[in-house]
Symmetry: C2
């Protein structure tokens, strides 16, 4: 089978071009393209160009405001709240991130809330931007409800991710990007497609009973990470990113499907400057040493290497930047349909150099 | 068998009296007593008066500074760092909490670090104090290493808890207090005592292999919550509470056992005033409604009630305040030995009213 490989620049260009064809200005499209391509580069294919067809559908349905006016309100010396005006989440999230960076550089600490946004891509994109500036960064967002409360039997909570980046000095930055469910919904879909059963810790039926049948799980709810702990974390994210910012929360979110409504999601950003605690070079030395210590620690039998969070994704990113991003045949077909719809020739984005 | 029941006030008095007998001033002892008693009231017996004998041992060994001078350094308008001067953690943690409360009330947001402390009791004690003041509060601390990194085979990380409290308006505050390991070390000890096997997700052997034998697990390492996710969270806590504040971290901590060294633990506190985001009455209304929504959601078969995090502990606290705290025969014996050592008559603290 022919392998479909696209360069970083071409994937960014393709996404920007497709979004432009459905009415999104190029400068905004480039931000969306950078976020999606970053996910593909880092091997998080579920949040890369695979998301584009859904964005396009929502745009065509008029569910998303293509020219949002992002109003920023200062809530305190180191706090702000942004209204995303029902635009795509990426633009507003980047603005929130930039505000958090500016405040943390000036005051050492910042908290920025963002309400009334749509899906913003991988959560770790934004803390990684903060870590690029030497800051410790955090982003959380609520997402469409797929998970039951601990003891519950209906979808009330999203997989509500927590993303953190810690600058690693000369070493690779530590990047955490975790959902608060045991596994992603997509894992059940894969099991169903492959005719496999699932561990009974992944999901419950619509009646709230544990199941090993992916079909029953897909019709039911995901289970929170480790039971009550993941439930607590998911609630925390929903309250801080959703309720507190004035966004929607729980299963009250509109626009979950392919309808004409925006999602009214919320997100929250924290940035902290470690150089307030100690000299920058001391922090760098300590964190480099910390990373080396973990990596040198005793490995379990059969384990080649101990990785820091995000280390493998960062290695993939370096590799994909050089060797291009591999697009699966199924995804290629989907993107081809999208390109055809808007009158773009997909082939010209896929370089023969990589084949 | 005779039941041993002690009132809140008498447990506080007993702890203060015992600590005074080994040289701790009463005002500091009262803080320690309040933290430990709070744990017992809330049904977290592992962190209650059960910890006292270890504190007393460390004090007698001269491992703990009984008259710490707590130096506070302002790091920015909404940030501070406290040096715990190797005192018991409770006093310094309360000071950090009070500083976080004051800064958050003035500026909306606060971050306070604390280094060079010893064990501070239940982590949620401090965010609960913040929630009492209408703030959303967080406390994290690193703890003695018991857990292997994901893929590792030696103890490098503590169970590093994350505690959060969110004021619930007229409803019970939401209180999260979770370790970042799958289970507490104590659960393996209980299994060993009862001759039971353990699930293979709890611990690994000293060679890094999963085990169902509690003895092998106790000689090995705990496993992080959900694998890589708990590993990421434990690292995050260790870096923010330990490395960043200038405390110890990983397995470099001294004073882990019953030796003459302090623990050099670190902790970090965040406080946020929700009334910066919206009017207090609006936040209260939303959070009360949120809690009601979760509680009214569909229950799994066999589940009587869905609880918010901390709800059951708060109900236990109310009950124990009225009916007293039940002390197990084993723990009573331990406390009796402690009281005998310092020349206190334990019986007089246990009221006959409760029997």
């Amino acid at each position: 089978m022919e392998k479909h490989i696209i360069s970083q620049e071409n994937e960014q260009g393709l996404i920007t071009d497709i979004l432009e064809k459905v009415g999104l200005g190029r400068s905004q499209g480039q931000i969306v393209a950078d976020v999606l391509t970053k996910a593909d580069l880092r091997g998080i294919g579920s949040h890369g160009i695979a998301r584009l067809s859904w964005y396009v559908k929502k745009i065509k349905l008029g569910a998303v405001n293509l020219n949002p006016s992002l109003e920023l309100k200062r809530l305190g010396p180191t706090m702000a709240l942004i209204d995303g005006d029902n635009g795509l989440g990426h633009l507003a999230a980047l603005k929130a991130t930039e505000e958090a960076i500016a405040l943390a550089k000036e005051y050492g600490l910042a908290c920025v809330g963002l309400r009334n946004m749509n899906h913003f891509g991988i959560a770790s994109y934004y803390p990684m931007k903060m870590a690029d500036q030497g800051l410790i960064g955090l982003a959380i967002t609520n997402t469409l409800p797929l998970m039951a409360p601990f003891g519950g039997a209906e979808r009330k909570l999203g997989s509500n991710p927590i993303a953190v980046a810690i600058p690693g000095g000369k070493k690779t930055d530590i990047v955490i990007d975790m959902s608060t469910s045991n596994v992603a919904y997509g894992k059940l879909e894969v099991a169903l497609r492959n005719g496999q059963s699932i561990p009974d810790t992944w999901a419950i039926t619509a009646e709230g009973q544990r199941t090993t049948d992916p079909k029953e799980g897909l019709a039911g709810s995901l289970l929170p990470l480790g039971g009550p702990k993941g439930y607590g974390l998911a609630l925390l994210v929903d309250i801080m990113a959703g309720l507190l910012t004035g966004a929607s929360y729980l299963d009250r979110m509109p626009g979950l499907g392919q309808d004409e409504k925006g999602q009214e999601l919320g997100s929250l950003y924290l940035a902290l400057d470690p150089s307030r605690f100690m000299a920058r070079e001391d922090f760098n030395r300590l964190i480099e040493d910390y990373i080396a210590d973990i990596k040198a620690s005793k490995k379990a039998q059969g384990v080649d290497q101990i990785f820091l969070p995000g280390e493998r994704s960062s290695a993939k990113e370096e590799k994909s930047k050089k060797e291009g991003i591999v697009i699966s045949p199924g995804l290629y077909k989907e993107v081809k349909e999208l390109a055809d719809q808007v009158g773009l020739d997909l082939e010209k984005y896929f370089s023969t150099n990589f084949k």
